[in-house]
Symmetry: C2
Amino acid sequence: MNELLRVARALGDPNRVRAFLALEKRELCACQLIELLGLAPSTVSKHMAVLKHAGLVDSRKSGRWVHYRCTGKRAVPAVREAIAWAHRSLRHDPQITRDRRRLVAILLRTPAEACDTDRSPVTRRSAVAAARR
Amino acid sequence: MNELLRVARALGDPNRVRAFLALEKRELCACQLIELLGLAPSTVSKHMAVLKHAGLVDSRKSGRWVHYRCTGKRAVPAVREAIAWAHRSLRHDPQITRDRRRLVAILLRTPAEACDTDRSPVTRRSAVAAARR
DNA sequence: TCGTTATTTCGCCAACAAGCGAAGTATCGG
DNA sequence: CCGATACTTCGCTTGTTGGCGAAATAACGA
């Protein structure tokens, strides 16, 4: 039952839930999650490690940046079911809705100065479009 | 998102998960859960209050006894989905399997001396049969 | 009414979790 | 190399949680 316990505990903290839901439609690098949540980098790093250990999220390192993404369909069935539960029950949550809006701004702004200098304008535009959906 | 947080936190403790899974097929009174978990009555009472507050469980008082039961189909959709997730991911869990076996013994023994003096032998037999399934 | 039994509430302690800042690791740009 | 940038790990503080036993509440049975 350790898998269920890890997943349940990972989803038991509001900031982790916010970070996890922000990854519903796209991957994000740590600095974008830090800006979204407004927490210290070390805190966000710890939160992401918890989500990762639970199998809800994985990460890919590209240069200086670590990109996090939801494991989604690649997750094992038990975790996949939890992901569907979380996404569905928070679809209309006010906090998550606010976060979605703020993400649009973050995705528009941070590319120029930070995380994805290697991301082409066209990719950036589609990421923003995805965030609006 | 408070509902999800309450449910996730409720399912984040192994003893609460065991108690909750024990209620999958039948209702149980507090003393049976106390015996199953081997914890102090006050501790079990607190655990059940957490499960109840999360909407995973409700209770019905009958005389001296409080019978707990899974809210199951009566739960709101978000909670119902979590219930299905928990039940499905723990169907073959070793600890839960051990608990199911011990429950058979508890259901056979406790009626005579404790909780369900008001339960007729035929009902008791069917409860035991359900526990074996 | 009085004692007994079932359960909850209260008060406490130890373990854990979330937060931060400082120091450490890794990668890029010069 | 050296500084800067992006994270992560470490050490610490503070709030929360899980456990217990003792006392309180409730209901039954004599």
